[in-house]
Amino acid sequence: EPEVTQTPSHQVTQMGQEVILRCVPISNHLYFYWYRQILGQKVEFLVSFYNNEISEKSEIFDDQFSVERPDGSNFTLKIRSTKLEDSAMYFCASSPLSLTGGNNEQFFGPGTRLTVL
């Protein structure tokens, strides 16, 4: 069964450093997403990506964040200068294009735990 994969599973970094979180979406999916979940809190939408551009983004997704699909398989989230409050679990998700617009089942990866010291 195809699945979304994410690397690394755990990333520890110093405040102010840049991090890149990597995701490999399901191969025939066309929409890609990043979410974060601060420990003990709800899942928060960061950004969606379609056709090589950002489709929607939340208020959390400020200038410190960027996404990229550098090749046909990877989807990355970059945080340019990490802050302590960026510590969270980051989930990547993908979904197939829905021609009817009515079913947007998202398949989530296992997450990357980012710890900013």
Binding site: V43, E56, N103
Partner: protein
């Protein structure tokens, strides 16, 4: 601001009983709703979805009910099993076919033997 919230943070049920998990949403323009299950250490897993033009949708052992009048969503799990123990989130995607899903804080379901 708009938000999706859950009435009960925890729910304990006996194995074999039915479970009902509730969710309230505040965005009257919401069009699409999803229930997710999240097991410890894993990412959210899609369970079932419903659009605003429906009031009920059934899956395998699960049923989602939508009451647009009171902006309420529920997930019913029939014959709850130990493997159903997890945190359940509702999420709302406002129009138009947005992907900016707003998640509720989650309800932890514990299945007792």
């Amino acid at each position: 601001g708009e938000s999706v919230g859950l009435h009960l943070p925890t729910l304990s049920v006996q194995e074999g009983d039915n479970s009902i998990i509730n969710c309230a949403y505040s965005n009257s323009a919401s069009d699409y709703f999803i229930w997710y299950k999240q097991e410890s250490g894993k990412g959210p897993q899609f369970i079932i979805d419903i659009r605003s033009n429906m009031d009920k949708r059934q899956g395998q052992r699960v049923t989602v009910l939508l009451n647009k009048t009171v902006k309420h969503l529920s997930l019913q799990i029939a014959a709850t099993q130990p493997g159903d123990s997890a945190v359940y989130f509702c999420a709302d995607a406002p129009l138009p076919w947005g992907q900016n899903f707003v998640f509720g804080p989650g309800t932890r379901l514990s299945v007792l033997p």
